[in-house]
Symmetry: C2
């Protein structure tokens, strides 16, 4: 075992419950507010969009929520995911640090996204929902939801940001292969889409607009619901299988992380890995460090404000108290599409505010450099998003090399990069840029935060 | 265990030896002949191209050949690969058959190819080779060799058929990401390439020509060797880790296959899975069936001739006694690029001739239909090549449904289809065609077989 590259669990060791950190939050998590009235949002406000079981999970304070057998049965197709000891990377870095990573790229969709997609579709199915709508940017979430819907035999419609629909066609193909229909957003089938096309027939679309389209269709029909791939409490909850498995695997390795690292866009893969370790830190009085890594091109945690803001660009969603760059902040076109979000999950924001979790920003070219080092030592080609975590793990390992500290580093490899080769091409051709915003441009979008008492 | 989707082995259970079926061949395997003299080829003929250790393996009759520790150390990054029980597929088919598949798509390059790439590069490294050349069609082999060379710190140069270089750029990216250089073939750096460009500057290239380029460069420099990804005995040998692992995993499952299925181009993934089970059949007097599945567009085993022929298009390689469609047979442009080879490994051909292995041809659209059924039940998106095995496994399972036979089916999933989404797009758009050759066109290329006494 000592020199094994992988620590595997059997299917019977797949967790039976999700860990709900709401039960253990060290500080109050301010409630979401209605966008118009600024009053706390109630279950009835969410009922048109989500099945009641998920709304209950969204507000639950039960510490553990049982994973239904039918959900576990599908997760078992690829879970438990392997925990790797990065022996080759350690050797290449010449570090005394021990580096472990959890490989979520083994799911059929290639990322952690199916962990919540399967659960969400299950609860929709149980409540008689006939059809689910969602939006997707580059397609990671859309493909995961398509796969889950296929397995539970529910119709799935995905609004994909138009520029990705045409420029990154292969995740679109994946969505179709798993039987879902996918429309470029803006589309002609919604009012929001038609209005956007009327304003500008050549618009390349945006995630905010795609959300509006998917929500509009779901809200109009009781048998149709909407599904979101990150940010919300229940989504983070479903991802905790990652950290629960990793805890068991670290125990088998006879080791325990000094630092836990993950990349953050909306925050779900990071939360999935980190929250069970946050619980252990609280229960066992440990001083585990948690690093949430974001791009300098979208520095929500490191340069944003902890304040109430809309989850979407157009101001239709509930207001969430979170770290935000302002809902009209437009991040640069970096290749880690999954990390281009102006806000952050409320639970992560609260834990950053409570100084349990620390944000860290890394630049795009440094990220790809780390990705290459990883692919050339460990073999696996990482997603650009996941490479943010790799960059920081390597930085920590190199720091340990300087200090001589035998640090134990654990990071989440949220997905593989098989559908991101164009980004690697651009990096290898020296065409990638770094983005660092002048303070005045940050101040501008932060000045537009809604005024909440 | 009974209802598990996956049967996993620990790294310590990775086989310590390859199985060399040459020790047990039921019939004589005619030797390769020199293309000019028609005399058996000796080690000295191969020495300019291959390290001596691989030449020895090519002719060895030792039953087991130890896998060097350094090779096992790299294979352990992803091996042992999982054996899956296709419970969801069985259910969808409503078959009494039990279907198992070995998932070679878990390697970093996404196929079985690294199993031999790592071994070949190791032996080259041991003999002081500084640089390795090879050719690649769609890039599966080139990317596997690039990864292996990166890990042993050997230079790697890949000649990639020009049409693939430009039309399927993402496996090219993978080759570059792993640090190898890749040239479109024909290139300006070889005589063979320059001559081809002089004849037709706009040629789209061919695998045969790319072989000529890679061989030319290797032959000219003692510190440079050449590497081949299929067909040869030592390549098939290195793939037997697949079948050896599968044997252990079937034992853990408490089951044993009635039929073993794999797709065949040059034959290496099929051989890797099948040969250890062929040994068991001989040793234990079983009646296991072996189905080698090829495209109707390249029906080497089902419509070819068992005769001496060249391995390449231009007639430069040794003559091999094999099932062949004739070295100037040009298969149609099907999407399973890895199966477009006019010949077949000598060992497989001899076992087909001895009626141990049976060839079966399947049509492209039927193959993609099976691939979709598989992706929608088991989740995994298969490579078009591997989907030939899936098609046949499904056919066998449906036959068992009719007869009520509780048949045990095992197939090799040689790789994933993440780099083949354009093929799925074409299938979903109804644009794929099937190819069945009229006998006269087959007869034409078979008429050009070299005359060997």
């Amino acid at each position: 075992m000592a020199n094994d590259h992988k620590i595997l669990l059997s299917e019977s060791e797949l967790p039976h419950a999700w860990y709900n950190i709401m039960a253990d939050m060290p500080t109050e998590v301010p409630p979401p507010l209605h966008p118009a009235t600024h009053q706390p949002v109630g279950p009835q406000d969410l009922a048109p969009l989500f099945p009641m079981a998920l709304i209950q999970q969204e507000v639950s304070t039960e510490r553990y929520i049982e994973i239904p057998g039918a959900v576990r049965d599908i997760l078992r197709l690829w879970r438990p995911s392997p925990l790797h000891r990065a022996l080759n990377l350690e050797k290449a870095l010449g570090t005394p640090a021990r580096i472990y990573y959890k490989n979520e790229g083994v799911s059929p969709a290639g990322s952690h996204k199916p962990n919540t997609a399967v659960a969400q579709v299950y609860y929709n199915k149980m409540e008689g929902v006939r059809s689910i709508t969602t939006e997707t940017g580059a397609g990671q979430w859309g493909s995961a939801l398509a796969m889950a819907c296929q397995m539970f035999d529910i119709e799935c419609r995905v609004w994909m940001v138009k520029v990705s629909y045409y420029q990154k066609p292969y995740r679109r193909s994946l969505i179709q292969l798993w039987g879902a229909s996918v429309l470029p957003s803006p589309s002609e089938v919604t009012e929001a889409g038609r209005a956007a096309l009327a304003r500008d027939p050549n618009t390349s679309g945006s995630l905010g607009l795609a959300i509006s389209e998917a929500v509009e269709v779901a809200a109009a029909d009781e048998a149709v619901k909407y599904s979101l791939g990150s940010v919300l409490n229940h989504v983070l909850l479903h991802q905790t299988v990652i950290g629960e498995e990793a805890l068991k695997q670290m125990q088998i390795a006879g080791d325990y992380p000094d630092v836990v690292i993950g990349c953050v866009g909306g925050g779900s893969n990071f939360a999935g890995m980190a929250f069970p370790f946050v619980r252990e830190r609280m229960e066992r009085n440990l001083d585990t460090e948690f690093l949430a890594v974001e791009p300098t091109a979208c520095p929500t945690l490191t340069r944003g404000k902890y304040a109430y803001d809309f989850g979407d660009v157009s101001g239709m969603t509930p207001l969430i108290k979170m770290h935000t760059l302002g809902h009209d902040f437009v991040p640069s076109g970096i290749h880690a599409g999954g990390l281009r979000y102006h806000g952050m999950a409320a639970l992560i924001s609260a834990l950053v505010d409570a100084k349990v979790i620390t944000g860290r920003a890394v630049a795009q070219t440094d990220v790809f450099k780390a990705a290459l080092t990883f692919a050339r030592t460990e073999g696996i080609v990482p997603a650009p998003e996941s490479a943010h975590a790799i960059r920081t793990a390597i930085d920590e390992a190199l720091k340990a090399k300087e200090t001589g500290e035998e640090k134990c580093i654990l990071f989440n490899l949220s997905g593989h990069g098989h559908f991101d080769m164009a980004a690697y091409d651009a990096y290898l051709a020296g065409e990638l840029m770094d983005f660092e915003y002048p303070q005045e441009s940050m101040d501008k979008s932060l000045a537009n935060l809604p005024a909440v008492e």
